[in-house]
């Protein structure tokens, strides 16, 4: 039961219920779809950015609580940042969720994503948590599709 309450924390459930920044951006400079064929989770990430700066992001998710929460949290973390910072955040998050070693959680660095660390105990669900981040990466690179497999 402990693992379970770790996973479905208040903060996750709240992001799931009311995802932040879930409307398509208009205007946007790019977008990418994320799709997990194993479970059917599907989302679209929209970005508005210049070469060096990410102004704003939204994420529209049709999927489980983990993927919705992860996408929602992501949008709150990466907006108004230098691209180079965003890229570091993406890497850090992947490491947080999928790195071999038990991560040290830095609440400042990881922000609300720290709440998702419980997913590490649920290997089947890790891809739900990383999906939005992969899509963000694709959107910034100008690809418009990302799948996590």
């Amino acid at each position: 039961m402990d693992d379970l309450s770790d996973l479905y924390q208040e903060i996750i459930l709240s992001h799931n219920k009311r995802p932040r920044n879930s409307d398509p951006l208009d205007p946007s400079t790019g977008q990418a779809e994320g799709f997990n064929p194993l479970c059917g989770d599907k989302l679209t990430v929209y970005v508005r950015n210049s070469e060096n700066f990410l102004e704003t992001v939204s994420c529209d998710t049709d999927g489980c609580a983990i993927s919705r929460a992860s996408g929602s949290i992501m949008t709150t973390m990466v907006a108004n940042k230098e691209i180079i910072e965003v890229e570091k955040l993406i890497e850090d998050t992947k490491l947080l969720l999928t790195g071999e070693d038990e991560p040290e959680v830095d609440l400042i660095e990881h922000g609300d994503m720290a709440a998702l660390i419980g997913v590490r105990k649920f290997p089947a669900r890790i891809k739900c948590a990383t999906l939005a981040w992969h899509a963000l990466e694709s959107a910034l690179k100008g690809n418009n599709e990302a799948t996590t497999e």
Binding site: M1, D3, L4, L7, Y8, L13, N16, K17, L38, C39, G40, D41, K42, D62, G63, C64, A65, I66, R68, F122, A124, R125, C128
Partner: protein, 406 residues
């Protein structure tokens, strides 16, 4: 007759803990568990009798060939085929449908012809036909279903026309549990001389199947969903059709004479079994069939219908839960949604309590679309499940409700 309460003991896998809780296996529509006799038979074949079949004059090979042939006979009897030669061993239901789509469908279908399926098909009974349709210019036409998850028989009749060249539909729905009125539908189709394939993947583990009584031309199923080994499946085909069909895969055992000037093929079933088959799989499948025959359909149906009733009531008592698929005639398969709780979250929560269910589209995306859901959670039962397990399921789902404040 065996007591239901001791049946569990026949299935070694059920005796284990998952996440600290006793395993409650409710994913039988994905694959069934194997009784010890089946596992032991595969083992004893591999460790005492293993040999390649056909063409072997030596003792081991002769005996393996005999055991393989006996497996074919057991399957023929099990579904009441007219002859052993009407039974073709394949990898599974999926390969069986692909075989028919290619060796039967492709030569029959022309541009504009129609292949009739239903909106509730498994992808295995959609994609092979789409692939052949692409090659031939034929079209795949889905028959509508009702909101209860039953075939709309009016729509069915209205979709039959002169261009309908094949009908291929699911006998029992993997996603909804619906038992379709196959015999009645086949009568209507055969009155117009339309060949029919029945996808029995989900039917064979729950009820006696009699292909001659059903009147279908082809019937397919997988061993792993019938308490047998994986990598093994069955295509039944009426001899009249099989004997006219061209080969599917080419290779050893299916040929008569091979030369670079031309090759001739053997009669069915060999014509359709190129290369070394899954011999231990066939022999294990026979053991599974023997096990079911010993148990008897009466026993199985009695247990399962009371489990279905109990589980339906239990789930219906959870306010936020909606059962998807409420056909009159069902096997014990229960798909459901629960307000804002996503099926994958439900499945994760159940798993943490040792309960194995499936969440997702169940390889039936068009059906999900038709029903307006992106996924469901599915509990699929077998005769070795019991009411205590269903009670546990109910309790766990109550907790899901709580977590998601449904």
């Amino acid at each position: 007759m065996k007591k239901a309460s001791t049946l569990r003991d026949d299935f070694p896998i059920l005796n284990q803990e998952v996440n600290g809780k006793p395993l409650i296996y409710l994913d039988n529509a994905a694959t069934t568990q194997k009784p010890k006799v089946v596992i032991d038979r595969v083992s004893s074949f591999l460790s005492e009798e293993n040999a390649n079949i056909h063409r072997g004059v030596h003792h081991l090979s002769m005996n393996a060939t005999k055991a393989y042939d006996q497996a074919r006979s057991a399957v023929a009897k099990f579904i009441n085929a007219n002859s052993d030669n009407e039974i073709i061993f394949v990898r599974g239901a999926t390969e069986a449908i692909n075989l028919v789509a290619n060796s039967f469908g492709k030569s029959l279908l022309e541009k504009g012809d129609e292949i009739l399926v239903t909106e509730m098909e498994h992808h295995a009974n959609i994609v092979p036909w789409q692939l052949v349709a692409r090659e031939t210019g034929a079209k795949v036409i889905p028959i509508a279903i009702t909101d209860h998850g039953e075939i709309d028989l009016n729509d069915f009749e209205s979709k039959i026309n002169k261009r309908t060249k094949i009908a291929s539909f699911i006998h029992v729905s993997n996603a909804l549990g619906t038992i379709n009125p196959a015999k009645r539908m086949i009568q209507i189709l055969k009155a117009k001389d339309i060949p029919v394939l029945l996808d029995g993947a989900q039917a064979v583990a729950h009820q006696a199947v009699n292909v001659q009584d059903l009147g279908c031309d082809f019937y397919v199923f997988s061993s792993h969903k019938l308490f047998g080994p994986d990598g093994m499946g069955v295509l039944y085909g009426r001899n009249e059709l099989l004997s006219k069909m061209s080969p599917y895969q080419g290779g050893g055992d299916m040929i008569e004479v091979v030369s670079f000037d031309g090759t001739t093929f053997r009669e069915p079933p060999e014509r359709f079994e190129a290369g070394t088959p899954n011999i231990s799989g066939a022999i294990g499948l026979k053991e599974a069939i023997d096990y079911i025959n010993d148990l008897g359909w009466d026993t199985i149906e009695k247990i399962e219908s009371s489990l279905l009733k109990y589980c339906t009531e239990k789930l219906s008592s959870i306010p936020s839960l909606k059962i998807i698929g409420t056909a009159q005639k069902k096997v014990p398969v229960l798909s459901f949604t629960m307000g804002s709780a996503h099926p994958h979250d439900i499945a994760t929560i159940l798993d943490s309590k040792g309960i194995a269910v499936r969440a997702g589209h169940h390889c039936a995306q068009p059906l999900m679309k038709r029903l307006g859901v992106s996924a469901t959670t599915r509990a699929s039962l077998s005769f070795y499940n019991n009411v205590e397990e269903i009670d546990q399921l109910g309790e766990a789902l109550e907790q899901v409700s709580k977590i998601f404040e449904n």
